[in-house]
Symmetry: C2
């Protein structure tokens, strides 16, 4: 039986926590659209890979804490409220975020995250990331 | 029959669009918690009224465009993806936002909105609002 959209999203978050870049990318459709609103969207797996690689490969631990989620009546759109935590040794970036995922054929097709970008950038700097290389603007 | 959580949230957004401050406040529980994450939360109707009054009374038009929404399995938590638009004559503030509402006894008990605060502040300035009076920090 096909996985529910909720299962697809939970599995996708688990791939982030495993820090498996290729698995994360392949869990998205080839024509995926990923946006940290209001930063312009990334299109396709290559742009996503370029954006997530350094972050995922450098972090010593990644956690997507899902506080709650709900699937829309269309059965394919999943809303989440999360805290995304990226650790680098004893330094931590904690981003309170809401995200909406649209699932197609068992893959993530659209993903829009909403959070306070300044909070994200400030915290990324603590981890030694340079905004502008990780966050396209 | 009691309204569904989705109906409560849609009605609540409609009250914002009617710019009816007292109706908005009374549609929330006396011990409501309203937060523009990561700005500290407001507690209770008086704090909410103080926060929303100038904005609602000054704007010439208010629109909460709901792009999509979903109710969690608990039947009381509603996730929304919206664009909130506040107009003042020909000036517009458009905030892309996700928000989660928790309904209790037909009233909004918790409301957390997630958006890029810098976008919000920049756009509020265009409308002549001074950040710090409208957004507690």
């Amino acid at each position: 039986m096909a996985k529910s959209a909720e299962e697809v999203v939970r599995n996708y978050c688990a791939l982030w926590e495993r820090q498996d870049v290729e698995a994360v990318v392949k869990a998205m459709t080839p024509d995926c659209i990923y946006q940290n609103v209001p930063v312009p969207a990334m299109h396709g797996r290559d742009e996503v890979r370029a954006f997530i690689s350094k972050l995922l490969l450098t972090a010593s631990k990644v956690e997507f804490v899902v506080h709650g989620l709900a699937t829309a009546a269309d059965g394919k759109t999943v809303y989440t409220e999360r805290t995304d935590i990226f650790s680098l040794g004893d330094k931590k970036m904690e981003a309170p975020v809401m995200g909406v995922f649209v699932v197609r054929d068992g893959l993530i097709h659209e993903w829009r995250d909403y959070c306070d970008i300044a909070t994200l950038v400030t915290q990324m700097k603590k981890l030694g990331f340079t905004p502008g290389t990780e966050i396209p603007s």
